[in-house]
């Protein structure tokens, strides 16, 4: 049995279990079954507002993740190059990692309102993940090759391309994968709390207000799907970069 078939069988089994429990509970407010969730998804997909919400949330969250990854990467380079910068940045990044996302969401809501809440939160969640991941990658670069590069006065661009990048790639892949996943989860959580109009988080919140668990499951499915597709696209792009760069 191939891995794909195994996964399909497992998924069908759990959908079946879910449907049985929903039938036993027999209360759509408490627990909608997969059939109700699917019907809700079909109904939502026919509404323009659904697509506007998905695209607006998607663009906001992706922008946030991109900014977080960029800033996290940049700060990790600066930290690696300068001990003083690292000394000042490390507690800040640790604080960003430790402060509950809900607290940051409330603060951002007070300071800048709800319009770009998911962008801010996704960026603040992705930044420390990327910072720590890239710092680990930098410290795993081969010290003997770096010594060789120093002796040969190897151009910095080539040092990055041929020594740092192969060492960075494994940490970079896991950091970006984690940043995308966590960025989506936190971005949606921020939208649920901040409720910007036309957003997936707002749709989820409204489903909760109307006690429509079918819609809750439908929105959840869409969020997981969008996050999963994004992660796959990013991983595909990175593997192309890896292949093109001759990195094994």
């Amino acid at each position: 049995m191939t891995k794909f078939i195994k996964n399909v069988v497992a998924a069908v089994f759990w959908l079946f279990v879910w449907q049985i429990i929903a039938l036993i509970v027999h209360n759509k407010v408490l627990l909608a079954g997969p059939i109700e969730a699917f019907n809700a998804l079909i109904r939502m997909a026919g509404e323009a507002e659904f697509w506007q919400s998905v695209s607006a949330s998607y663009l906001h969250i992706i922008a946030g993740i991109f900014i977080g990854i960029l800033l996290g990467g940049l700060l990790s380079v600066l930290s690696y190059k300068n001990e003083l910068i690292e000394m000042f940045l490390s507690p800040l990044v640790l604080a960003l990692k430790s402060i509950p996302v809900a607290s940051i969401i409330i603060l951002i809501l007070i300071w800048v309102g709800s319009d770009f809440i998911s962008t801010f939160i996704s960026a603040l969640v992705a930044l420390p993940i990327m910072y720590v991941g890239m710092k680990n990658g930098f410290s795993s670069a081969d010290k003997k090759l770096l010594e060789m590069a120093h002796v040969y006065r190897m151009p910095p661009v080539n040092q990055f391309r041929f020594i740092y990048l192969p060492a960075l790639f494994p940490s970079l892949l896991s950091a970006i994968s984690l940043a995308v996943g966590m960025g989506f989860k936190s971005g949606i959580a921020a939208e649920v709390i901040g409720q910007p109009l036309l957003s997936m988080g707002n749709g989820l919140y409204r489903a909760k207000i109307y006690l429509d668990t079918g819609d809750v499951f439908a929105w959840t499915f869409v969020i997981i799907l969008v996050s999963w597709i994004t992660e796959k696209i990013v991983m595909l792009l990175l593997s192309l970069v890896k292949k093109g760069g001759g990195i094994k």
Binding site: M148, V151, Y152, M154, N158, F162, I163, I247, K248
Partner: protein
């Protein structure tokens, strides 16, 4: 140029590897530093390159030397090649003036033509050593420093490599380490 190694001493804990070592390295000369393993040959190279500081003594880069540390083409004891990249890329990457065409021409002098575009991790130990030798000779430098460069080479490859190095050496000093001076008639032997 002249490099003056003056009263160099170096210890690692209780182990004294260099004790009041003196040597004047001059242009147009080749030196082979001989001694058993652990006698301080690699340490001497590291001190010469500024990678380690001596406990006492000094390295004088004589004349109006324009660099903060020695500009040398170096073959390290380990090859220190970027494993996933080809021999050509390994030669080109170290200096912005190294072109692919020149790297190809130089590598073909010591290696089979079909090996120079393979990732170096796929090459034999002897081939990798020769890539490291070409890399050291391909950059514009003031000196060639080679830490046991012929380890793993058969007699024919070794002689080809020696001829190649001597051709590339020009007037610059050549500094080689080896277990013994056999086959280094063109060098002045310095025993450790």
């Amino acid at each position: 140029m002249t490099i003056d190694l003056e009263n160099i001493c170096k210890s690692y804990g209780d182990l004294k590897v260099l004790s009041n070592f003196n040597l004047e390295i001059e242009n147009d000369h080749s030196y082979v530093i001989t001694g058993e393993s652990g006698k301080g040959k690699t340490t001497l190279i590291r001190i010469l390159l500024g990678l380690e500081q001596p406990d006492s003594g000094k390295v004088h880069l004589m004349g109006d030397y324009k660099y903060a540390y020695l500009n040398a083409g170096v073959v390290f004891q380990e090859d220190r090649l970027c494993e996933n990249f080809s021999a050509v890329q390994n030669v080109v990457m170290v200096n912005k003036n190294n072109s692919v065409k020149v790297a190809e021409e130089e590598l073909k002098k010591l290696l089979p033509e079909d090996s120079i575009y393979k990732p170096v991790r796929e090459l034999s130990g002897g081939m990798r050593r020769r890539v490291a030798i070409v890399r050291a000779c391909a950059i514009p430098s003031d000196m060639l420093i080679m830490d046991e460069p012929f380890a793993g080479l058969d007699a024919v490859s070794r002689q080809k490599a020696i001829d190649y190095i001597r051709e590339k050496q020009g007037r610059n000093p050549l500094f080689i380490t080896a277990h013994d001076a056999e086959g280094f008639d063109f060098c002045r032997e310095v025993k450790l």
